[in-house]
């Protein structure tokens, strides 16, 4: 009986652990300069987070706080100085700056990355048709990336991350340059992915989007502050699982940015 009583929590823990698609534990990163008389910049200091299947996680923080660095480390594009990242399943990464081949066409980009993901020709064609339809850029299939507008380039950037239907999506400001219709289409797509059990982490600056996230992490002084998005939407100040000390964060509106930005209450890097 005792064993029976103890089983459910164990199963529950195992299930919870198996639900995690990426877990970062106590990540530290400092950018050292190779040049003399220049300073090193400490960006992350014990950042800890996790993303579960079917969870949409927002990562927020002011400019230069290290969000993109964190995202690159989560994706595996950058090594952390300390800490560990564990991923389960396939990963789709949409970097802030589209890392695409400028002189390949949209079609060729799909083919090349489809090859990288191990997709066959039919799968690539299906993914291309689906994404160019949803994001509305079918007419640019034969256009070279360098001749695309910023918004269409970003659509392709996002599509390359999505085309193999990964278990984890890491999106670094994915809707930069999107028009309103595409912005809405993006969130509709994200909802579909959530329903399919895809874990999604999104770097965002837009405070009005907070309701769309299940969890928001704020990056401040190299630490992450986890906030469950609840009914009252009050920012909760509590340390991430690495038990780092944190300070309470406060929302504010940046007039220059036209509103919608959020940053920490104290100055930080």
């Amino acid at each position: 009986m005792t064993a029976d009583r103890s089983s459910p929590p164990e199963h529950s823990e195992q299930r919870a652990a198996s639900d995690i698609v990426v877990a970062a534990d106590s990540i530290a990163k400092t950018y050292d300069s190779r040049l003399p008389f220049t300073r090193s910049v400490e960006v992350l200091d014990g950042a800890t987070l996790e993303v579960r299947r079917g969870e949409v996680v927002g990562i927020m923080g002011e400019n230069g706080s290290g969000k993109s660095t964190l995202m690159q480390i989560l994706a595996g594009a950058l090594d952390a100085d300390a800490g560990a990242v564990q991923r389960a399943g396939t990963v789709g990464w949409c970097p802030q700056e589209p890392r695409l081949y400028d002189r390949l066409t949209v079609d060729e980009t799909f083919r090349l990355f489809g090859q990288a993901y191990g997709m066959d020709d039919d799968e690539v064609r299906e993914a291309r048709d689906w994404l160019t339809d949803v994001l509305d850029f079918e007419e640019f299939a034969d256009r070279q990336v360098r001749h695309l507008s910023g918004g269409n380039r970003q659509k392709l950037n996002l599509s390359v991350a999505l085309m193999h239907e990964p278990d984890l999506l890491l999106l670094d400001e994915p809707y930069t340059g999107f028009d309103w219709e595409t912005f809405l289409a993006f969130w509709e797509l994200t909802e579909q992915l959530r329903d399919r059990g895809v874990g999604v982490a999104i770097i965002s600056h837009i405070i009005n989007e907070r309701d769309r996230f299940d969890v928001v992490y704020e990056l401040h002084d190299g630490h992450l502050h986890r906030q469950e998005i609840g009914a009252d939407d009050e920012p909760q100040s509590r340390p991430t699982e690495g038990q780092v000390d944190c300070e309470r964060t406060t929302p504010f509106v940046d007039d220059d940015a036209g509103g919608g930005q959020r940053a920490t209450g104290e100055g930080s890097r």
Binding site: A77, R103, A116
Partner: protein
Amino acid sequence: MNGRVRTLAAMGAREFARTPVLLALLVVLPVYVIGVFVLLVDDTAVPLTIDGSVVNAEMSAFAAAFMTPVTVAILAGIVGLFLMQSSQAADDRLRLAGYRAGELVTARFGLLVVGTLLVTAASLAVALTAVTPELLGWFVLATVLTGLTYGILGVVVGVVLDRLPGVYVMLFAPMVDVLMFQNPLATDPPTWTSALPGHYATELLFAATFTTSVDGTDAVAAGGYVLLLLVLGTGLLYRTTAVE
């Protein structure tokens, strides 16, 4: 070569073909550097020091032979540099998406070889109108080896330097190495100049152009230099495309 490498190499070739400025440079620069030099020099004989012996050659033939490795080194170096600079960030992403480092390195070096052969062909087409090498096969081989040497150096420089300083380095390095220190008009070059990348390939080239025999060790040493740089470049490429 597997299908993934073929696809990547083919896409790289398309990018190359869609860079009209670079393609124009490959055609115009040999005509300009080799052709104009040949036209400008007097038609007199000059004494050249080749493998310790003095050989007299027509100035125009010397100009054509001499400017060929200089041109090929500059152009191949720039091809290597641009190959690296234009694809590095996207290669990282492609690597994360599933391409293996070996596949990327193979495709990139394959493209570099094609670029070097193009540069060599364009330069030879101009040079051979003004000079008839005694040993054409060795002359072509020496030119290709010079191109490969500087092409791989261009890749290495592309990994460690940004585009602008990289272009400066890849313009000045062949000038200093081949144009100044491997010049057969110089009778007593410093010993250390034999350690420069272009030394053995240009020794081979001048012997093949103006004498009836070549020293095989020059070919082996030039090939060895290419292999050494290939190992260095491959190591650097593996490192830059390393992902978890």
